[in-house]
C-alpha cells in the first residue's frame, strides 16, 4: 500500500515534467502541422542555459525559468521566421526533414561548445525532501510539478481567451481564411514555434534539476513527447497535461510489475516503455483522438 502511494506520487511528479515537455511539441504539431524534431534540441539548450547560468553566475534554476523561456522563444521565433517559414506550407514530411536537420545542427553545435561531458545542476536544496504518511516527496520535483501546472494553466487561458490565442487556433484551421481576417500568418507561426521552443526551454530547465545535462539529452524526451501529446490529444493543452500524468503514472506502476512466461522472468521495469505504449494503443483504440482530443470537423 505504501509502495502504491509512493509510486502514484512518483508518477505524478514525473508526469508533470513530461507534460511540459510535450506541451510545446503538441502545440507546434497541432497548430502548424509541423512535427518538430528539433524540440529535443531546444530542451537541451534550455538545460545548458540553466546549467551555465548556475555554474557561472549562481542563478537558481527556478529563477532561470523565465530566462530560458525568453531566450528560447526568441531563438524559436528567429528560426521560424528565417528558416522554417520558407517551407511552412510544405508537406508535413518536408518540415519533418528540415527540423531533423536543425536538430542535428543544434546538438552538434552544443557538442562543440560544451563537449560531451555530463553536467549537472546540483543546488543546495537539491534532493531535499519531506515525508508524509511514509511517502517521500522531493521538494524540487514538487515545485517542478507546480510549475508545470501553472504553465499549462496559463497556456490554456491564453489560447482560449486571448485574441492572439484565438488567432492561433483559427490559423491552424484555415490559413487562407485567417489571412482574410487580417492575421499575419508568418507572425503567428513564429509565435507558435517560439512558444514551442520556449516551453521546451522551460522543460529543459526543470529537467536539468534531476537529469544529466549533455548534448544528446533531448532524444528520450522527444520520443516521450510524441507519445504524451497523442495520448492526451494533439494540440490540446489539457491533453498534454493529462497525457503526461497518465504516462508518468503508467511508467511508475510498470516498474513494480513482474511477469513469468514459462521459464522466462520479465521485470516490468525493463518493459516500462512497452507498457506505456500498450496503454497508448488501448487509449487510442477507445478514443481515436486521444484522451482530450476532439474529433475535427
Amino acid at each position: 500500500m505504501h509502495l502504491f502511494a509512493q509510486d502514484l506520487v512518483n508518477g505524478i511528479l514525473a508526469g508533470g515534467i513530461l507534460a511540459v515537455v510535450a506541451l510545446g511539441f503538441s502545440l507546434v504539431w497541432g497548430i502548424m502541422n509541423i512535427i518538430n524534431l528539433a524540440h529535443g534540441a531546444f530542451l537541451m539548450l534550455g538545460a545548458y542555459l540553466t546549467y551555465q547560468l548556475f555554474a557561472s553566475f549562481h542563478v537558481d534554476p527556478f529563477l532561470s525559468l523565465p530566462i530560458s523561456f525568453v531566450v528560447l522563444f526568441a531563438l524559436g521565433y528567429l528560426i521560424q521566421t528565417y528558416l522554417i517559414n520558407w517551407v511552412a506550407r510544405a508537406p508535413i514530411l518536408t518540415t519533418f526533414l528540415l527540423t531533423f536537420g536543425l536538430s542535428l545542427l543544434m546538438v552538434n553545435i552544443a557538442l562543440i561548445v560544451w563537449t560531451g561531458d555530463q553536467r549537472g545542476v546540483t543546488t543546495a536544496y537539491s534532493g531535499a525532501n519531506f515525508t508524509i504518511a511514509d511517502v517521500t516527496v522531493p521538494w524540487t520535483k514538487l515545485f517542478t510539478l507546480l510549475a508545470a501546472l501553472a504553465i499549462t494553466g496559463i497556456m490554456q487561458l491564453w489560447l482560449t481567451r486571448s485574441k492572439t490565442g484565438r488567432a492561433i487556433r483559427a490559423t491552424s484551421m484555415d490559413i487562407g481564411a485567417a489571412q482574410l481576417s487580417g492575421v499575419r500568418v508568418a507572425h503567428i507561426y513564429a509565435i507558435v514555434y517560439g512558444l514551442g521552443a520556449g516551453l521546451a526551454g522551460v522543460a529543459g530547465t526543470l529537467i536539468s534539476l534531476s537529469y544529466a545535462v549533455n548534448p544528446g539529452m533531448g532524444d528520450p524526451f522527444l520520443i516521450k513527447a510524441f507519445v504524451v501529446c497523442v495520448l492526451g490529444g494533439l494540440g490540446s493543452v489539457e491533453g498534454a497535461l493529462i497525457g503526461g500524468l497518465v504516462y508518468g503514472i503508467v511508467e511508475a506502476f510498470a516498474t513494480q510489475l513482474d511477469f513469468t512466461i514459462g521459464t522466462q522472468h520479465i521485470s516490468g521495469s525493463g518493459l516500462q516503455d512497452a507498457i506505456a505504449l500498450v496503454v497508448l494503443l488501448i487509449v487510442l483504440i477507445v478514443r481515436p483522438t486521444g484522451i482530450m482530443g476532439k474529433a475535427t470537423a
Binding site: 485574441k163 484565438r166 488567432a167 487556433r169 483559427a170 484551421m173 484555415d174 487562407g176 481564411a177 485567417a178 489571412q179 482574410l180 481576417s181 487580417g182 492575421v183 499575419r184 500568418v185 476532439k294 475535427t296 470537423a297
Partner: protein, 246 residues
C-alpha cells in the same frame, strides 16, 4: 494598431482596378481587367463558371498574385500587398466556400472577424450580428464546422462584417441557400450598403445579383465583355440568353 478598425465606415474612395492580369503558375486567367467600385455602390460581377470571378476578387484581397496592372483603393495602392494588409485597408472578402474556422465556435468565428479591431464596440457589433441573423444566436456555441451549409454562409458574412469593412467582396453568396434565406441576405446587403459600405458581389444567381446591384460587369474567360447599369443588363438579350436561361 490599424487604420481600418477605428476609421469611419464610410468608404474612403473608389476601388479602381486597372489593366489587371493574373493567373496561377503559368496559366493566365485574367486579361487586362479594369473596373471600379465607387464609395457606397453595390456592383455585381457576373460570368459563367471558370470565367475568373473568384480570381479577380482574390487579386483584390491579395490571395491571388497580380502579374501586372494595379489595384487602388482610395489613396492606397493594394497591388501586391499581403492579404492581411489589405484587411487593414478596409477591404474584406467573404470567400467562396465560406472557409469558416471549423473547430471554433460561432462566437469565436465572429470574434476572429474583429481580429484587427481594438475598439470597445466589438461586443456591441457582435450583438448586432445576432439580431440581424437570429439563427446564429441559436447556434452561438456550436462549432462552425457542424453547421449546415446555409448556417455557415451566414457566419461567413457576419464574420466579415465584424471587421467593419468599407468595401465588402462577396463571392457566391447564395450558393446552396434556401430561397427564403437568400431573401434575407439580400435585405441584409441592402442594409449594410445603407450604412455606407460598398459591395462588390459575385453571383451565379444572376437575377438576384442584378436586382441588388446598381451596376454590373460581365466577365467572360478572364475579360470584361460588357458593363453597365444592372437594370439595363437585366434586359440585355445577350445576358438573358447566356445567364438567365430565358
Amino acid at each position: 494598431m490599424t487604420a481600418a478598425a477605428n476609421a469611419s465606415r464610410t468608404a474612403v474612395g473608389p476601388l479602381v482596378i486597372d489593366g489587371l492580369c493574373a493567373g496561377y503558375g503559368d496559366t493566365q486567367v485574367l486579361w487586362d481587367v479594369s473596373l471600379h467600385v465607387e464609395p457606397g455602390e453595390v456592383v455585381a460581377l457576373i460570368g459563367s463558371n471558370g470565367a475568373g470571378k473568384s480570381s479577380l476578387l482574390g487579386a483584390v484581397s491579395g490571395v491571388v498574385k497580380t502579374w501586372s496592372g494595379t489595384v487602388r483603393y482610395g489613396e492606397r495602392s493594394l497591388t501586391g500587398l499581403e492579404p492581411d494588409r489589405i484587411v487593414v485597408a478596409g477591404v474584406l472578402q467573404v470567400p467562396q466556400g465560406r472557409r469558416l474556422f471549423g473547430s471554433l465556435s460561432v462566437e469565436d468565428n465572429l470574434r476572429m472577424g474583429a481580429y484587427l479591431r481594438n475598439d470597445r464596440e466589438v461586443d456591441a457589433d457582435l450583438e448586432r450580428m445576432l439580431t440581424l441573423l437570429p439563427r446564429l444566436r441559436e447556434r452561438y456555441d456550436y462549432l462552425a464546422g457542424r453547421l449546415s451549409g446555409g448556417e455557415q454562409q451566414q457566419v461567413a458574412i457576419a464574420r466579415a462584417l465584424m471587421a467593419r469593412p468599407q468595401l465588402l467582396l462577396i463571392d457566391e453568396m447564395s450558393l446552396g441557400l434556401a430561397p427564403v434565406l437568400v431573401d434575407q441576405l439580400v435585405e441584409l446587403l441592402a442594409r449594410i450598403n445603407a450604412t455606407g459600405v460598398s459591395i462588390l458581389i459575385v453571383e451565379q444567381d444572376v437575377q438576384t445579383a442584378l436586382e441588388v446591384s446598381s451596376r454590373a460587369y460581365v466577365l467572360e474567360t478572364g475579360r470584361i465583355t460588357l458593363s453597365g447599369p444592372s437594370a439595363q443588363l437585366l434586359d440585355d438579350p445577350q445576358v438573358k440568353k447566356a445567364y438567365l436561361g430565358v
